[in-house]
């Protein structure tokens, strides 16, 4: 062995390096399946815009000065953001658990907070990219007023963060691919579709409009849509506060699970 090479580490430890490496790995993983992560939402969004915007949109109108396709585009963008934030964290962590390579990460000095933030930031990045791609597609169908672009970015980021946490929690509890799809099909999808994606919730008959107020997706969609269209059913402050509050609670839960869950360290 070359005697000049030290086999014991002498470099100073950097906690940020641990975090940034996991973040980088998540970005590389996302990029390695770019077709699946970035192109698939383009197809889905185009189909939605063709069906709900072009085909049916001419016959639907909720607000006088806003066309249906303008109404539905923010919802479709946010659906892409939410779906991809959830998919990024849930698939990455669950596949790591399934293949067993999560053990390679659990023995490193990464803290539970660093696990949460690295997975979440990568998910937010993917979600925002997908949101931008869907917005790009929507340019071919309509133009948006962009009343409060900064608020829209803030709302999309918080939404992505919230569903990144949801994805992590799902992955930690899921025992199989089947149980993962149960979360997606029986919880996530109903919440999205009943949260006012394609219609204004307040126009639903009672008690469905009241019940919908308990759906966290309602606040995300309303907050994002009102930021873009300049009008909505609830104030941005309420929508943002509720979304941030739920996201924070879920983030603490994720940190707790990375610290204590027997599903990760038995």
């Amino acid at each position: 062995m070359n005697s000049q090479i030290n086999s014991i580490q002498t470099q100073k430890f950097s906690g940020f390096k641990s975090f940034s490496t996991l973040f980088k790995k998540e970005i590389l993983r996302m990029w390695s399946v770019a077709g699946q992560t970035l192109l698939a939402p383009v197809v889905t969004a185009t189909l939605y815009l063709l069906i709900f915007g072009v085909s049916l949109g001419g016959r639907i109108s909720f607000w006088e000065d806003i066309s249906y396709i303008q109404f539905v585009v923010p919802g479709l963008v946010l659906m892409g953001v939410i779906n991809n934030a959830f998919a990024n964290t849930s698939s990455s962590l669950f596949i790591s658990k399934y293949l067993g390579n999560i053990a390679d990460l659990l023995v490193t000095p990464l803290t539970p907070f660093q696990f949460m933030t690295a997975y979440s930031l990568a998910a937010i990045l993917r979600a925002i990219l997908v949101g931008l791609v869907i917005l790009g597609v929507s340019i071919f169908f309509t133009s948006l007023p962009w009343a409060h672009p900064f608020k829209a970015i803030l709302m999309a980021t918080v939404s992505a963060f919230l569903f990144a946490q949801f994805g992590l929690i799902t992955a930690i509890f899921a025992k199989s691919f089947d149980s993962l799809s149960v979360f997606t099909n029986f919880l996530l999808m109903p919440l999205i579709y009943l949260g006012g994606l394609f219609y204004p919730v307040q126009q639903l008959p009672s008690p469905w409009n009241t019940i919908s107020m308990f759906n966290p997706l309602y606040y995300l969609i309303e907050g994002f849509r009102s930021s873009i269209l300049g009008r909505g059913e609830i104030s941005f402050a309420i929508a943002f506060s509720v979304s941030l509050g739920i996201a924070t609670i879920l983030a603490y839960w994720v940190i707790y699970l990375f610290t204590n869950s027997s599903r990760l360290r038995n």
């Binding site: 090479i5 030290n6 580490q9 906690g15 590389l28 067993g100 023995v107 000095p109």
Partner: protein, 300 residues
């Protein structure tokens, strides 16, 4: 300073107790072997040390730091090669090797990386993903991954299980070299003769308890009896079992003076016609079996 200091360690999985009140100190610079039959608690102990599972009671210190309260400090000093082959297939192994030290908060040392690649013969495979490697190559890569951040403590959980003799010998040579340069090694293996050859001290676990702990040679001598086979011109063999402390000189004198005051009783053998002696040492395998054999004579 002890590299590993385990005090009153308990680990249970439901009703099953995997580790029972384990106390063990491994000194810095040692190559320590942890042996035991399947289910003895070896892997549980290793997983507890590495932070892969949580203990019910007790404490573990690595280089003086507690693995629970100072886990950032302790984990950066440990490299673990898992017993099971862990597949991560999204990047080629060369890129994964470059990425891995970052998790431990350090930049890669290119010279060290090149050395590991050379010594583990990974160069032709760096562009391949893990699924494209043979079983032996996967294990070589896992060794490189466990060492790439230059840990002070290397834990090898049955590293040579199912690999060919060539790799096994090469791997142990490499482990010896790493150890000489200051890395403490804790290993479990089912190849007992290798543990005997490689490890300075050995602990044997059974049913979650440490049933033997000593220097390898002492452990073998203490537990095992030596066997002397005496061959005669006539073709007869006489097998004599030497107990601990028996001097070979005394046995030979006895053979030379049959019927003497201190010699052997007459057994109708003509000791002047002895043509050969064969002294067989007890092996670690014998020691292992004698310690872990159940009352019914069946190994668990």
């Amino acid at each position: 300073m002890a590299a590993i200091d385990i005090q009153n360690l308990w680990k249970q999985y439901g009703d099953f107790t995997a580790v029972k009140d384990l106390n063990l100190k491994i000194d810095e610079g040692e190559i320590f072997g942890l042996l035991g039959p399947n289910g003895a608690g070896k892997s549980s102990t290793i997983h507890l040390i590495a932070g892969l599972c949580r203990m019910q009671k007790g404490s573990i210190k690595i280089f003086g730091k507690d693995i629970v309260t100072d886990f950032v400090e302790t984990r950066r000093n440990v490299g673990l090669m898992h017993q099971e082959i862990v597949i991560d297939n999204f990047l080629p192994i060369g890129k994964m090797l470059n990425l891995h030290p970052g998790y431990y908060g350090v930049k890669i040392d290119p010279d060290w990386r090149d050395l590991l690649i050379e010594r583990l013969a990974l160069e032709p495979h760096l562009g391949k993903k893990m699924m494209g490697l043979s079983g032996g190559m996967k294990r070589r890569f896992m060794v490189a991954k466990a060492l790439i951040h230059k840990p002070k403590l290397l834990i090898l959980d049955e590293p040579t299980a199912g690999v060919d003799v060539e790799l096994r010998v090469a791997l142990w040579d490499f482990v010896r070299e790493i150890n000489k340069r200051g890395t403490t090694i804790l290993l479990t293996t089912h190849y007992i003769e290798e543990a005997e050859e490689l490890c300075g001290r050995i602990g044997i676990m059974h049913h979650g308890e440490l049933v033997a702990l000593d220097k390898t040679k002492s452990l073998v001598q203490k537990i095992n009896k030596r066997h002397l086979t005496v061959s005669f011109k006539t073709g007869d063999d006489l097998k004599i079992t030497l107990n601990e402390g028996d001097s070979l000189q005394k046995v030979i004198n006895d053979l030379a003076n049959p019927g003497s005051k201190d010699g052997r009783e007459s057994d109708n053998k003509n000791y002047s016609e002895v043509v050969d002696f064969d002294l067989q040492k007890g092996s670690l395998e014998d020691a292992f079996l004698s310690l872990t054999r159940t009352e019914g004579g069946r190994r668990e």
